[in-house]
């Protein structure tokens, strides 16, 4: 007969196992990527890897600069579109929308977050690519195939709306009613209350949601790979094709494995991606902890 106390201890031990598994998977992934990146780091300098714009694996050049620039450009375009639209729509949903509309929009956004990225990619190919090549490009006097940095950026922005919107809505709604009342009783209008009180109070979560969106945009692979054109050159403009770190990993890994060091170079870029995304996630947490007092 096992005593209740003993059972209690057994469950306590047992329950730590799943978390240990999760943590150890993450750590071993990290360790594995570091381990497999060693060959390339031994034969090429970090400067070459990060700053050379020559990506030519069969000639032994592994400059990741074009992918890094591509990733940054796509992410920045996506954020420039997604952040203002998401924040304003979050304000509308949380503060202005009638109750029924509010819950409808919220559930639509939850669905949006669950759509597989390949679906976004396909829709982008069908709609966005022709739009950019036939209308947007010509409007700016540029000849383009439509498979561009801009196309990828727009596609990505749609994909990060749900993250930023749902986090912001939650943040705005958690601002206590008494604070709104305090502002309103002083004669402030609703908009002034939203701007000076609700938004300010929720701002740590807003910044944090932006950082998480950034992390998501940085790592997004499928949809971007489908519309960016996948050319390993530094893009000259937003209408140039390019590639990103995740896209290059997804589209080339497994193809040219016979090339010396190629495998290690890809591992290194995966490591880079992991580090950057982890940093953004940590930053998002730090912002919340530091400023939400």
């Amino acid at each position: 007969m096992i005593s209740k106390k003993a059972w209690d201890r057994i469950y306590e031990r047992l329950l730590t196992v799943p978390s240990l598994i999760v943590v150890s998977v993450f750590i071993s992934m990290f360790a594995f990527l570091i381990y497999r990146s060693i060959p390339i780091l031994e034969s090429k300098s970090l400067g070459h890897l990060l700053l050379s714009s020559r990506w030519n694996p069969d000639r032994g050049s592994f400059g990741l600069y074009p992918m890094i620039v591509g990733t940054i450009m796509v992410t920045v375009i996506a954020m420039m579109i997604a952040v203002p639209i998401s924040i304003f729509s979050a304000i509308y949903i949380s503060e202005y929308a009638p109750r029924r509309l509010k819950s409808t929009i919220k559930s639509i956004i939850d669905v949006l977050a669950g759509i597989p990225s390949v679906v976004y990619g396909m829709c982008a190919i069908l709609v966005l690519v022709p739009l950019v090549s036939d209308h947007v490009g010509p409007f700016f006097g540029v000849d383009t195939t439509g498979y561009t940095v801009l196309t990828a950026g727009i596609t990505l922005s749609v994909m990060i709306f749900p993250i930023i919107i749902s986090m912001c809505v939650e943040a705005f709604q958690s601002v206590p009613l008494t604070l709104r009342e305090a502002s309103l009783t002083l004669g402030a209008t609703k908009w002034e209350t939203v701007k000076y009180v609700v938004f300010r109070k929720a701002s740590p979560s807003v910044y944090s949601s932006i950082l998480l969106g950034f992390g998501r945009a940085f790592g997004e692979t499928m949809a971007v790979a489908m519309v960016i054109g996948n050319l390993p050159f530094v893009p000259r403009s937003v209408f140039s094709p390019a590639t990103t770190i995740p896209a290059v990993i997804a589209t080339t890994y497994g193809e040219m494995m016979s090339l010396p060091l190629f495998d290690s170079a890809i591992m290194f870029s995966a490591l880079l991606l992991l580090i950057i995304v982890v940093i953004f996630n940590i930053l998002a947490k730090v912002v919340i902890m530091k400023y939400s007092r």
Binding site: R99, P176, L177, T178, L179, R180, E181, A182, S183, L184, T185, L186, G187, A188, T189, E192, Y196, V197, R200, K201, R293
Partner: protein, 255 residues
């Protein structure tokens, strides 16, 4: 009585529903100018709803329905051409728990003035000092006006909220159990302040504590279950209550 000119706030057949709950039933009360009117009654009887109806904060509640009239100095608060911000500006609110806005001490005091368009630094500085002095907070905070208001103690925060309310120069101060979250010393400070302010302002104070009512009230409205059971001069209500319910509340039979 509701036609009487000597009341600052008058309600006529005020009925309030929230969803299907009939919270206030045919409320006819008059709040005299100056002095402290205490709205007394057990928890959940509709006191706060009545208070928030005065400055239309009740509008924020989902599914609320208001019928009847509320007059502030003869002006119909619920008339659809009425400028709500204007009504609210005339009535300051002090809540149960202090509600410092997410900004500095200075910005808290001057917030109301700022939203009403005051941009002169000098004028804002002056007002900040005047009203912080008025609530006895100036000596405590004058050297750290840019600190976040949340760094103050609860009692200080509550006085800051009072200063912030006074800064927009209201005529009425609405208080919802303003001392219930505070320690005895801070409560005493707020009580004394309200006693000082009552010569200039119309103060309406909601509470379920008889002690506070006896301490501060010049005029009492006793509410039970959404209905006004009794109202009148404090001494008269306390010493010779007309209704049986008021009597039993006084001796602690209803809480």
């Amino acid at each position: 009585m509701t036609e009487n000119k000597e009341y600052r706030i008058v309600t006529k057949d005020l009925n309030v529903w929230i969803g299907k709950n009939h919270i206030l039933k045919d409320v006819n009360v008059g709040i005299p100018p100056r002095g402290i009117t205490v709205i007394l009654g057990p928890s959940g009887c509709g006191k706060t709803t009545l208070l928030k109806s005065f400055n239309r904060l009740i509008d924020l509640v989902d599914g609320v329905k208001v019928r009847g009239t509320i007059l502030l100095d003869g002006m119909d608060v619920y008339h659809n051409t009425q400028d709500i911000e204007d009504v609210r500006k005339k009535m300051g609110l002090l809540c149960q728990r202090p509600t410092p806005l997410p900004m500095s001490i200075y910005d808290n005091v001057t917030y109301g003035l700022w939203v009403h368009g005051e941009r002169s630094r000098k004028a804002l500085d002056n007002k900040a000092e005047t009203y912080l002095k008025k609530v006895g907070l100036w000596t405590e905070v004058h050297d750290r006006l840019t600190d976040p208001a949340t760094k103050l103690s609860l009692g200080q925060q509550q006085r800051l909220c009072l200063a912030r309310g006074l800064a927009v120069e209201p005529e009425v101060i609405l208080c919802d159990e303003p001392t219930s979250a505070l320690d005895p010393t801070s409560s005493r400070k707020i009580e004394n302040m309200l006693r000082e302010l009552k010569s200039v302002y119309t103060i309406v104070l909601v509470t379920h504590t008889l002690r506070l009512a006896e301490l501060l009230a010049d005029h009492v409205i006793f509410i039970y279950n959404g209905r006004v059971m009794e109202q009148g001069e404090a001494r008269q209500v306390f010493e010779h209550p007309k209704s049986e319910l008021t009597k039993s509340f006084m001796i602690g039979e209803i809480l």
